[in-house]
């Protein structure tokens, strides 16, 4: 089935235009108009390669994994574990055991905050940035309130880049144990210089976690080249299923970390007095995992790799440049976040029109964008806005869709002035 997926995808990838044919939802109508889906940063649509792979798994080979001594179970176990190899390759991990499957990025960060966090001592610091998603803020606040560590926040510049000088200052007292920073902002589109951050963190004796929820869709990640210690991503933004995410961490760190959730599959032996843990990765995967979703994530990664990040990146850079130009011509529109290194996520406000009204009026025209605080309230306060509208792109997004967005925004503004 995997081979089939790859072949179908590479045919489709013959031309980026053909990619749209892989996404059945793109032919839907909304309020009588063609769907223009510009909310991929919230969650990407699924290609038929993923949908078919999941359905086919349930139709022909499903069984619970790891504990079964029969063929169906062995086969499903192999398919599940093969995705671990695949993700290890996708992220450039040193070993397959470094890949832990979680529900999403949020759970992956919470796992680190609970498990690695339990090794931190009062007075040690977790350093995050002003542009984090709530998923990379709240788990650390909860750890702070539980364990008495300090939560420190490093600022962004006015154009929405990470302030590297301030980062250096925030690391300078040597108390920072962990730097947890996004690899790409879901509001500003800013791509952070992960390697430089990792070097600074390591020089200050800190470990570093990157939230790759947004970035992993757009650029090839190599955790060893980045010299990261932890990396998280989420399947549903990666053209994959919901209910599946990934934590990567260095083997030696994972080995030291206590388990997070307890239950079946994560143990070596259980007695009422004392239990012992399975080796990684299983130590961190308690209970029946999201088997079908993991296999679906494998299909999504095969799909992405059949297209290739060169082409994905080129497509997206061209689109982003086009969009910045087209939106720049809409009078009253202000793009929020103008860092030089950026990806296809564009937040904006429009004078006289509230982002809610923008979203609803675009929706009436079939155009799906997001409006609100994008789970980044502190960043909104820093930027002095209470909400923005946000258009974000996927591999299926076309320049024509962006032109329609810009033209519709002009009309919307017309109502309000």
């Amino acid at each position: 089935m995997m081979d089939q997926v790859v072949t179908q995808a590479s045919d489709a990838a013959g031309s980026l235009r053909h990619i749209r044919a892989d996404f059945p939802i793109l032919t839907q109508k909304v309020h009588g108009k063609d769907l223009v889906f510009l909310d991929s940063a919230a969650s990407a649509q699924k290609p038929r390669q993923v949908i078919d792979c999941m359905a086919e798994t349930m139709r022909t080979q499903y069984a619970n994994i790891h504990r079964g001594l029969y063929w169906m179970s062995e086969r499903t176990t192999e398919a599940y574990e093969a995705v671990r190899d695949q993700v290890a390759g996708f992220l450039g991990a040193g070993a397959r055991e470094e890949i832990i499957f979680t529900r999403n990025s949020t759970e992956a960060i919470n796992l680190v905050a609970h498990s690695y966090g339990s090794l931190l001592r009062p007075g040690q610091v977790v350093l995050i940035s002003e542009m984090e998603h709530h998923a990379n803020i709240v788990p650390w606040q909860m750890l702070r309130d539980r364990a008495g560590i300090e939560l420190r926040v490093t600022p962004v510049t006015d154009d929405g880049a990470l302030d590297m000088e301030a980062l250096g200052q925030n690391l300078s007292d040597g108390r920072v144990a962990l730097v947890a920073i996004t690899h790409m902002s879901n509001v500003l589109g800013t791509i952070t210089d992960a390697r430089a951050i990792a070097d600074m963190a390591h020089a200050a004796g800190a470990k570093v976690l990157f939230d790759g929820s947004q970035l992993a869709v757009h650029r090839r990640v190599n955790v060893r080249e980045l010299d990261a210690d932890f990396y998280v991503l989420t399947g549903h933004k990666l053209y994959g299923p919901t209910g599946i995410g990934v934590l990567w961490a260095r083997r030696e760190i994972l080995d030291e970390m206590p388990p997070f959730l307890g239950g079946g599959d994560m143990i070596s032996t259980v007695s009422f007095g004392r239990s012992t843990w399975a080796p990684v990765p299983h130590k961190f995967e308690a209970g029946t995992p999201a088997i079908i979703e993991t296999i679906g994530l494998g299909a999504a990664i095969s799909y992405i790799e059949s297209i290739g990040f060169d082409r994905i990146g080129a497509h997206e850079e061209a689109l982003t440049a086009h969009a910045l130009k087209a939106l720049g011509q809409v009078s009253g529109l202000k793009v929020i976040g103008t860092a030089p290194e950026r990806g296809g996520v564009i937040s904006f406000t429009m004078a006289d029109v509230h982002p809610h009204d923008i979203a609803t009026l675009l929706d009436r025209n079939g155009i799906a964008v997001r409006a609100g605080h994008h789970c980044a309230e502190p960043l909104m306060r820093r930027l002095g806005v209470s909400a923005t509208a946000r258009a974000s792109f996927g591999i299926y997004t076309t320049p024509e869709e962006i032109d329609l967005l810009a033209a519709t925004l002009v009309q919307i503004r017309g109502f309000f002035v």
């Binding site: 029109v353 509230h354 809610h356 609803t360 909400a387 009309q411 109502f415």
Partner: protein
């Protein structure tokens, strides 16, 4: 693009040129509503008489067109009304946005009935009413 029936002239007008925006120096009651999802906020100032009737009311709204117009039309509609009548209007408004059918008594407030097809926006229109209900309940407790 055709103008959405949700954004009727009355809604756009009241957003651009509200008739009941501001404060009241003599206010003896206040109400507040916040939508944590977007930070939108409605602050009400009112003069309420001994029977609980609203003699005058003003709103300070930071929010979208739906929210701002709803606050303004609400203020107009509840001026001079007694608590029982206001609670009835609140129920009618809730019914209108949930079902799309506006009871005749709503008058211009029926402009929000199309929200039943934009369910995520219902709380924008209801935020002023949340603030109003908070104000009435505070008043009763006094």
């Amino acid at each position: 693009m055709t103008q959405d029936d949700l954004y009727r002239t009355v809604v756009l007008q009241r957003t651009k040129t509200p008739l009941y925006a501001g404060k009241l120096a003599q206010a003896n009651a206040q109400g507040q509503g916040t939508n944590p999802l977007c930070g939108d906020r409605v602050h009400l100032h009112a003069v309420i008489d001994a029977q609980g009737r609203i003699d005058a009311i003003r709103h300070e709204t930071r929010g979208c067109a739906i929210c701002a117009a709803s606050a303004d039309l609400m203020a107009e509609r509840v001026t001079g009304q007694e608590p029982a009548r206001i609670r009835q209007l609140h129920a009618d408004m809730e019914a209108a946005v949930q079902t799309g059918n506006a009871p005749a008594a709503l008058g211009e407030l029926s402009a929000f009935a199309p929200l039943h097809r934009h369910r995520s926006r219902i709380r924008c229109a209801m935020l002023p009413w949340t603030a109003l209900m908070e104000m009435l309940n505070d008043d009763k407790d006094r």
